[in-house]
């Protein structure tokens, strides 16, 4: 076992309907940025992706992308999939690969295209994150499963609808400054509350948009990374729970997140109170509230309140999703975890531009797959 | 026909969907005077199956109700017949789906039967015979249909959805009712038919009356009474096939039955014609209220054409069984009125694309 991997380079593409770019093109754009910044080549590549097989007919994706891109010599390539936490899982695979000493440098890329098929097909593809035989078979949409959690949470903790709407409003406000974001227009609480019901109580503006994007991180052994600022991937953890909602112990929390956080924080030698910023998986506004609780930022039932009281703003007690989160930056499903990680890294590097939070030495990201089944948490620390 | 060993009914159960489409609403859409149909047919509204229902799903609920009343395990059922003219598949028996859902089988006779509106009682004749022969202990006969009529056609006003299941077994006082005898009477009388690929049936209008319904219903009933040495006044209840609310009244009058004997089993005025379920659902409603010692006549009619006629005497065992499942009245009281557009949406009158992967 060696030292924690260090970030040698990062890359992001703007999220949206990238008609002119294939999966390989997006992969190329993000990976080239990361490799040029790093000045070193990857020895292996881990790709986070959820639905390219279903929607593009392309399995064997790791190889298909690096071959299709041609940005670096072909190396061992692995697709890593865990529904919407595929990106986080790919990063975890890269973390293990470098930390174990098997590879000196790996490229982790999250890549996804969701804009090219009719929305029905996309909805059905994304529903594959649920239990195919006993949730999707019966007509569950992924949103409706999350709606069960939102209803339970609001009822159990008496949380006003507006508090959840405010989370979406903050995300849009933050994304105005994010050149990579899919949605960059501000919205109001009223906009959220009047948007159409997808699966009650979840409304359209509670949901992150679907789009195309790719993000990349090149991880390497510390001695290979030059430069004044070194950002270390100090710890990662994965936590799991049952795939289907009927097997969960509660419908108003996500123990998988808590388990992942415990492992990540312990490995990184930090406490949740040491964090200067956090990226949470706000696929739906409810998930942002639950994430803060399950990560230990606040106690049960206090998640929405944290946002409501202004504590999540860039200059707040603990900035949450300063780039706009999944809601406004976007959620190209398999890529999202890598976007979140890159955003934390760039904050620590002081490269976040208008989105820079005042203090960024230690940051964490959270990526959640399924309706609460597979959580990945990572902690980045400024090393020097 | 009298079975060599006695056969009794152990369980009965029905299912009627909650949706109702009124004759007034159908008339509104097609520009007809509702009085024409309400009065002439003596039908006010019909039961319509919901979008997630078909002859299989309705048969299952009816079968479950019958099993609950029978008190027997589904594994003891040795035959399951589904009589229907609206099976979900042209080729793939509804009976095996229903059997699996109820837990019947694998060692069971199972088949779908078609004889228009008398397919349910066909299954009953076959089950009675299998029980009486000693080949099986218990048999289940189900009549289930989601009947359709062409848009604006005469039949559309009455073609309805429903199901009833009857379980028969060895004769016993502990059962609900015992069979005295039955008769079947058939001929090639083309009063109503549907060719392969045709979406809606064709019918002979007036021809469906005298040469079809009345000839067979009255012919079978008279023959049965003669064989059993019974007369109309011997019966406390009489149930005829009920394509509308008029024909049964006319048949009763022709045969000499009093209108009061017809009342409990005449449902078509409020649910329409449930085709293969029609006469046996009327029978089910009678069993919901009949008392030990009373005698019931049931005569079905199926186009194409034929009638099955049965005489049953109610046993003491009916009392303990009655409340073990929902009654016909319980389903009748669950009533949700829909408009013609929803009816089309529910029953596939509007083609939707897609399908699950």
């Amino acid at each position: 076992m060696t030292d924690n991997p260090v970030v040698a380079g990062t890359g992001l593409t703007k999220i949206g309907r990238r008609w002119e770019d294939s999966l390989s093109d997006l992969f190329a754009e993000a990976s080239r940025q990361a490799i040029e910044e790093a000045g070193i080549q990857p020895q292996a590549v881990f790709v986070g992706n959820m639905v390219a097989g279903e929607l593009d007919g392309q399995e064997h994706l790791g190889l298909a992308l690096e071959d299709g891109a041609g940005v670096f010599p072909l190396v061992p390539a692995f697709k890593v999939e865990s529904a919407c936490s595929s990106g986080g899982s790919a990063l975890f695979a890269g973390y293990m690969a470098v930390k174990s000493g098997v590879y000196d440098s790996v490229l982790v890329a999250g890549v996804e295209k969701l804009s090219e098929e009719p929305s029905d097909n996309v909805t059905s593809a994304l529903a594959e994150a649920a239990d195919a035989d006993f949730e999707s078979y019966y007509g569950a949409s992924f949103t409706s499963l999350n709606a069960l959690l939102m209803r339970s949470y609001m009822k159990e903790y008496n949380v006003p609808r507006d508090w959840l709407s405010e989370i979406a409003v903050l995300m849009h406000k933050n994304a105005v400054d994010n050149p990579y974001a899919q949605l960059r227009k501000p919205i109001t609480v009223d906009d959220v509350n009047r948007s159409r019901v997808i699966a009650d109580p979840i409304r359209l503006l509670d949901c992150s948009p679907t789009g195309d994007g790719a993000a990349a991180i090149l991880l390497a052994r510390p001695e290979l990374v030059k430069g004044d600022v070194q950002v270390e991937l100090a710890g990662m953890g994965v936590g799991v729970d049952t795939i289907a909602v009927n097997g969960r112990s509660s419908l108003s929390d996500v123990p998988a997140t808590a388990k992942a956080a415990r492992v990540a924080f312990s490995a990184a030698g930090v406490d949740v109170n040491d964090l200067n910023l956090i990226e949470v998986h706000d696929a739906f506004t409810i998930m942002a509230a639950l994430a803060l609780e399950d990560l230990g930022v606040v106690s049960k039932g206090e998640g929405a309140k944290f946002f409501h009281e202004g504590n999540a703003e860039r200059d707040g007690k603990l900035p949450v999703n300063p780039e706009g989160g999944l809601k406004a930056r976007g959620h190209p499903v398999g890529a999202t975890g890598v976007y979140a990680a890159v955003e934390v890294v760039r904050q620590i590097q002081g490269k976040a531009g208008k989105m820079q939070v005042p203090r960024a030495e230690i940051g964490a990201f959270h990526n959640l797959g399924g309706s609460g089944s597979h959580a990945v948490v990572g902690v980045f620390k400024r090393k020097r | 026909m009298k079975p060599r060993s006695a056969v009794s009914i152990y369980g009965w159960g029905s299912y009627i969907p909650p949706y109702r489409l009124t004759v007034a609403e159908i008339s509104r859409v097609w520009g007809r005077d509702p009085v024409q149909y309400e009065e002439e047919l003596n039908v006010k509204e019909k039961a319509v199956a919901g979008p997630d229902e078909d002859s299989a799903t309705m048969a299952v609920e009816a079968g479950r109700n019958a099993l609950n009343r029978s008190g027997i395990s589904p594994k003891e059922i040795g035959a399951l017949y589904v009589g229907t003219e609206s099976p979900p598949y042209a080729v793939k028996p509804t009976a095996t789906t229903v059997a699996e859902a109820l837990g019947v089988g694998p060692f069971s006779v199972a088949a779908d039967l078609e004889f228009a509106c008398k397919a349910g009682t066909e299954g009953l004749q076959a089950s009675i015979a299998l029980v009486a022969s000693g080949m099986i202990r218990y048999g289940m006969a189900i009549g289930s249909d989601t009947a359709q009529g062409g848009p604006g056609d005469h039949l559309e006003y009455t073609a309805a959805s429903g199901a009833t299941a009857i379980i028969v077994g060895p004769g016993s006082k502990e059962a609900a009712a015992t069979l005295e005898g039955s008769i079947s009477f058939v001929s090639d009388t083309p009063d109503f038919w549907r060719r392969y690929g045709a979406r809606y049936p064709s019918h002979g209008e007036g021809f469906t009356g005298e040469p079809a319904y009345f000839k067979h219903v009255e012919g079978a009933t008279r023959a049965l009474m003669e064989e059993l040495g019974l007369k109309p006044s011997d019966f406390d209840y009489v149930v005829f096939h009920q394509p509308n609310g008029r024909f049964p009244l006319t048949a009763a009058r022709d045969l000499g039955f009093s209108p009061s004997a017809l009342k409990a089993g005449l449902l078509s005025p409020v649910i329409g014609n449930t085709y293969a379920a029609a006469s046996i659902t009327g029978f089910s409603a009678v069993l919901d209220v009949a008392r030990a010692g009373q005698r019931i006549l049931v005569t079905s009619f199926g186009s194409g054409a034929g009638s099955d006629s049965f005489s049953f005497v109610v046993e003491e065992g009916i009392e303990a069984r009655r409340d073990k499942a929902k009654r016909v009245m319980d389903y009748l009281s669950r009533r949700v009125e829909i408009d013609y557009a929803l009816y089309l949406k529910f029953r596939g009158g509007i083609r939707l694309g897609g399908g699950a992967k």
């Binding site: 029905d120 097909n121 909805t123 059905s124 529903a127 035989d133 006993f134 949730e135 999707s136 078979y137 019966y138 007509g139 569950a140 949409s141 949103t143 409706s144 499963l145 709606a147 069960l148 959690l149 939102m150 339970s152 009822k155 159409r196 019901v197 997808i198 699966a199 009650d200 109580p201 979840i202 049952t242 289907a244 909602v245 009927n246 097997g247 419908l251 | 909650p18 919901g50 979008p51 997630d52 229902e53 078909d54 299989a56 799903t57 299952v60 609920e61 979900p88 789906t97 699996e100 859902a101 837990g103 929902k326 319980d330 669950r334 949406k345 939707l352 897609g354 399908g355 699950a356 992967k357």
Partner: protein, 132 residues
């Protein structure tokens, strides 16, 4: 949904069958190869109760492919009389839906594989009418 996959699940879909672990006694739905609690292979098929209460629900207005005909419909988590929770959808809802409402299992059509493919059946839940 391939034909064999549908066919393998018929017990769970049609009869609400789960498994009971002969080692630790746990009941699980859907059925599995081994007990998810103690991981013993010694499990047997059991039919679960057909009545329960709603734990949580959501009225779905944006359906996945193949479910357009049923919109809007409720997805629910139901806790059956023996404590086992199942995921499902409601049918025949003619009034308000509330947590704690009593429901009963019914056999219904779930979807169709186009006009020529298999019809998929399964178990939905129906609010229990008072007095039944």
């Amino acid at each position: 949904m391939t034909v064999p996959r549908y066919w393998r699940n018929i017990g769970a879909y049609y009869r609400l069958e789960g498994i009971k672990c002969k080692n630790c006694g746990s009941l699980t739905f859907p059925p599995r190869n081994s007990c998810p609690k103690c991981h013993s292979k010694d499990v047997e098929t059991v039919q679960l109760p057909r009545r329960g209460r709603i734990v949580s629900f959501s009225l779905l207005r944006s359906p996945p492919k193949g479910f357009e005909a049923y919109v809007p419909y409720y997805v629910v988590v139901v806790e059956l009389e023996n404590g086992v929770r199942v995921f499902g959808t409601l049918t025949d809802v003619f009034g308000e839906v509330k947590e704690g409402m009593e429901v009963e299992a019914v056999f219904r059509k779930i979807s169709e594989d186009g006009e020529e493919g298999l019809i998929h059946y399964g178990t939905k839940f129906r609010p229990v009418a008072r007095g039944c």
